[in-house]
């Protein structure tokens, strides 16, 4: 790992390892894990679907063709058609956007808020820590789907509300991970060295502690994202997610229930999409852990 060594005598301060080199190193570590690589590739494919979905999809997701309803998979409709004659393949492609938008934004919000709570709680400790942690315990003690239903039932299932619900549900987990990292890091000698120098709390928190808590935080965030896919799909299935006719995967499964005997593809393909994305995300986050924290664990 001596990529940085450029002891050219001409320049007194040698150049540092560039960001590109660091990324290449991470890339090499990832490629050594074939399973994680596969997971990452699948994840990226879904991500591209979410971004470019409407342009890739062969048909519009709302495009109905009653004569072609409930067709089994053919070359024209690789995943078949649904009860309105809409192309299931196109609806899955376009539906990825909703999952990423809700789950992804919700997770990011949860990470931002959970990290703040975890940092403050772990670093300052005392009464504040006690209060924050007990509040999170309350959130954790209610089954998450139930809590989501209650919240959405109260405020109504708008896009913003869905995102907020995902965020609220995952704040406790993120906060706990961050807090435990902070508790461990704040007794480390380099943090004490900073206190000895008289650094401000903000410097200690954001420059000394947070960067070292990032790898586990990223891993936790990717795990949370994979859970949020389930959550968003479940809410869609229960009719509390994005409202029809949007191509939400959970909603599609719900609609497919009535046609299970005649048109199982209506249910099979959205379900497959959900599990593929969840499994791929999990594989990726496993790989991420090994890339960011090599040698930390061996599983």
């Amino acid at each position: 790992m001596s990529a940085s060594v450029d002891a050219a005598a001409a320049t007194p301060v040698p150049t540092r390892r560039s960001r590109g080199q660091t990324l290449r190193l991470y890339g090499r570590r990832l490629l050594r894990q074939p399973i994680a690589t596969v997971g990452t590739v699948i994840f990226i494919i879904f991500l591209l679907m979410a971004v470019f979905g409407p342009w890739i999809a062969p048909y519009g997701f709302e495009e109905q063709s009653i004569p072609d309803r409930l067709q089994s998979p053919t070359l024209q409709h690789p995943f078949g058609t649904d009860n309105f004659g809409r192309d299931v393949f196109s609806r899955i492609i376009v539906g990825a956007r909703g999952i990423f938008l809700l789950g992804g934004t919700g997770t990011i919000l949860a990470v931002l808020m959970g990290t703040t709570v975890g940092l403050v709680s772990g670093y300052f400790g005392g009464l504040l820590d006690e209060i924050l942690m007990r509040l999170l315990d309350v959130l954790l003690s209610i089954p998450s789907l139930l809590l989501a239903l209650v919240l959405l039932g109260t405020v109504g299932p708008s896009l913003i509300n869905l995102i907020l619900v995902v965020a609220v549900l995952y704040i406790p987990m993120i906060a706990r991970v961050v807090r435990s990292m902070v508790l461990d890091l704040k007794t480390k000698e380099f943090v004490e060295a900073a206190r000895i120098r008289g650094e401000r709390d903000s410097y200690v928190l954001f420059r000394e502690i947070l960067p070292n808590a990032l790898p586990p935080l990223l891993v936790e965030a990717s795990m949370r994202f994979s859970y949020s896919i389930f959550l968003v799909a479940s809410l869609g299935f229960l009719g509390l997610g994005v409202q029809p006719p949007s191509p939400d995967w959970g909603l599609q499964i719900n609609e497919a229930r009535n046609y299970l005997e005649g048109a199982p593809w209506m249910l099979a393909f959205p379900a497959l999409a959900i599990s593929m994305l969840v499994v791929a995300t999990n594989l990726m986050s496993d790989g991420l852990r090994r890339v960011l924290q090599p040698g930390r664990e061996d599983s």
Partner: protein, 706 residues
């Protein structure tokens, strides 16, 4: 590679273990590496063979390879291992399992991990006899008690009934040894068994190992990095370097007349305990142990060797017999200088910062730090306190070093953390140049904070893993007002001062060795241009050759910058080497304190005396009186009455020690002892405590020459 060792004559028939041309390979991501290459050794019945080397020398791999106990990615690639003539490498796995535990026993570094915490110790020890000797429960129990008796365990019956967490480190290690000896194994492997222990406990365990040789006739393979330990318990030594033997020989021959430059250098790296005022720089070995995937051509030590000639780099020199039972891998062994010559040429008198006036820099007066006892549940308030520091007064003069010595639990680190403001003292004051400082870092002004810096013990945790070396050293500079554009230049100056090249500027801590990290930490401390640096065991976890160079570095920097140090250590040799003043602490209170020369010469406080007789001195000819402290340091919650040391004191008088606090007796010069004995009485008792080998026609007060 043709380094086949010749076995010394006259020991055939008694040979227990014979390793011939053993090579071990590890599979890694970058391909196979060979941490042990073509190594041979023999150990006879009742003999103890010391395997010495720095970390990465392959000493543990050699031992574990020989008994086929390698991790999954390791394998023996060639060689023979004979245990009483039986080739271990040809045994089936099942046969090998029978050999382990019954004919070969291993004791590891950490006794706490070797025992199951949920089974009573006695049952664990007895189990061995039931499995391997087929004894009944009763017989096994009986044998277990005998064994505990043999390892000098006080009150074996009650120890056997206890769980591992209820025993001290020294007692645990004795249990593990007892367990290992249950089957009277032919070969006992001790892998750094005392590294995790305090000096005083280490001494007890080493005595035990020495006695084992008398009690049993097992062959002992003793793995350690500490030459002092080897000198105390081994009959023969093999010095390993990067996977090969550099030298093998009888303990006295090898220490008196090492025939390999590496051994010679290693001996020069450790500060030798001396009673005189004269101090020398320590030997340093340039460069690093080569990486196993890029070994140099020819002699593997040649790149770091001062005696190397061009021929040394051509072919690998074989291990040759230079004298009766003395093998060396140096082709120039006839010209290897004697230790005395060597030390005379490579060391210089220590530059000392003997400056002008004796200005008092820092004073910690009557410092107490009490912690509440952790409560046992919500409704049981425990009013008692853990008295980590219980009324200590120390002061440090400008440009001088105060050495603070004591076992773990003596409160040395807590005192340092109180001085720097990381913990708030319960009572007492800290003053810098007469000005009383705030109790915590938050209550101190920036300029006060700048004046006191700290170097921590654990090199892996003292640098932020996410910041480059340049950022770590540069931060105190920017914080304390160096103009931004000058920071990189100052960082480079500091790197140079700690002997690191500019190429380290952008490296991350994970790319540095332990010694390099500690250098960066020292540079960071000096970046603030402090008046005082607290060094909390900064070298304890490093290899000997690195320790020596860091101690040299600390002394030169002190001489250049006039910085004062508080040097905390459990290692009296290091403290003796670096300090002007010494304070010996026990259970949060000073026992003896004064000028280094006075404290470390008789009369001693009985506690200092015990510490002195416990340090392993790397010279088999030194005579140390056996003064051993039994048991462990008492709990800091219930501090013994009267003199707090009376429960373990080897010079215990009687009721007076239990009932009355001893007076502070003042001796000649600056020397205070906290004891009921008078100075005269102590002098009389302690004549024989430590006699250093006087190779130099000496009265006590002569530098120990190896």
């Amino acid at each position: 590679m043709a380094a086949s060792a010749e076995t010394a004559p006259g020991r055939e028939g008694r040979t227990v273990l014979e390793i011939e041309g053993l090579s071990v390979a590890y599979r890694t991501e970058e391909g196979d590496i060979f941490p042990v290459r073509d190594v041979s050794l023999t150990i006879a019945k009742g003999e103890s063979f010391g395997l010495v080397g720095e970390s990465g020398s392959g000493k543990s791999t050699l031992a574990m390879g020989a008994i086929r106990y390698l991790p999954a990615n390791g394998r023996v690639t060639s060689g023979r291992v004979l245990l009483r003539g039986e080739d271990l490498l040809s045994l089936s796995d099942k046969e090998m399992r029978n050999v382990w535990g019954s004919r070969i026993a291993v004791v590891y570094q950490s006794p706490g991990n070797a025992l199951n915490p949920s089974i009573r110790t006695g049952n664990q020890i007895a189990e061995v006899a039931r499995i391997h000797l087929g004894m009944s429960k009763q017989e096994a129990h009986q044998r277990m008690l005998e064994m505990l008796e043999k390892v000098k365990m006080p009150d074996p019956e009650s120890v056997a009934r206890r769980y591992p967490h209820q025993l001290s480190g020294g007692m645990l290690q004795r249990c593990v040894v007892a367990q290992a000896m249950m089957t009277n194994p032919e070969l006992l492997i001790l892998d750094e068994p005392t590294t995790a222990l305090d000096v005083t406990t280490q001494a007890v365990v080493l005595d035990l190992v020495a006695e084992l040789k008398q009690e049993f006739d097992s062959a002992i393979l003793y793995i350690t990095h500490d030459l002092g330990v080897v000198a105390r318990v081994c009959d023969r030594v093999g010095v390993m370097y990067a996977g090969e033997f550099m030298e093998q020989g009888g303990i006295h021959d090898l220490f008196k007349r090492p025939l390999h430059p590496y051994t010679l250098n290693l001996l020069g790296c450790v500060p030798h305990f001396s009673l005189g005022p004269r101090r020398k720089t320590l030997n340093t070995i340039p460069g690093f142990i080569p990486r196993l995937d890029e070994l140099p051509e020819g002699c593997i030590f040649a790149p770091r060797c001062s005696l190397a000639e061009p021929e040394c780099r051509v072919a690998q020199p074989p291990l040759v017999r230079a004298a009766e039972d003395h093998l060396t891998a140096c082709r120039r062994w006839p010209v290897v200088p004697t230790p005395a010559e060597h030390m005379a040429t490579i060391t210089a008198d220590l530059m000392q910062a003997r400056g002008a006036a004796e200005n008092r820099l820092l004073e910690a007066r009557d410092v107490k730090k009490y912690y509440p006892v952790p409560t046992q549940g919500p409704f049981r308030q425990d009013k008692r306190k853990v008295k980590s520091v219980d009324g200590m007064t120390v002061w440090i003069d400008e440009g001088r070093t105060l050495g603070l010595v004591g076992e773990s639990g003596s409160g040395k680190t807590t005192l340092a953390r109180t001085i720097i403001g990381l913990v708030e003292p319960t009572e007492g004051t800290i003053s810098l140049r007469g000005e009383i400082l705030g109790p915590t870092t938050r209550s101190r002004e920036r300029d006060v904070l700048r004046r006191i810096q700290m170097v921590f013990q654990n090199p892996d945790a003292s640098l932020n893993p996410r910041q480059t070396v340049g950022q770590s050293i540069g931060r105190p500079l920017t914080l304390f007002g160096t103009p931004r554009h000058e920071v990189p230049r100052r960082v480079l100056e500091l790197l140079e001062a700690v002997h690191l090249s500019p190429s380290y500027y952008h490296r991350l801590p994970s790319e540095l060795s332990g010694g390099e990290k500690q250098r960066v930490a020292i540079a960071r401390a000096f970046a603030a241009e402090p008046d005082l640096i607290l060094c909390d065991e900064p070298i304890a976890s490093l290899d000997v050759s690195v320790q020596g160079s860091l101690m040299n570095l600390l002394t030169t920097l002190q001489a250049e910058k006039g910085t004062s140090y508080l040097f905390i250590s459990h290692d009296l040799s290091a403290v003796q080497h670096l300090s002007d003043w010494v304070c010996v602490a026990y259970l949060g209170y000073a026992m003896e304190w004064g000028d280094a020369g006075d404290v470390l010469n008789p009369p001693y406080h009985p506690y200092t005396e015990a510490l002195l007789s416990a340090i392993p001195i790397p010279d088999p000819d030194v005579i140390q009186k056996n003064i051993r402290l039994e048991g462990s340091v008492p709990s800091a919650v219930d501090i013994p009455s009267g003199c707090r040391f009376h429960t373990r004191c080897p010079r215990f008088i009687g009721d007076i020690c239990i009932q009355e606090e001893p007076p502070w007796r003042e001796g000649e010069g600056d020397h205070w002892i906290y004891c009921h004995h008078t100075f005269e009485a102590l002098v009389e008792m302690q004549k024989e405590t430590l006699r250093l080998a006087d190779h130099d026609h000496g009265t006590p007060g002569v530098e120990v020459q190896v």
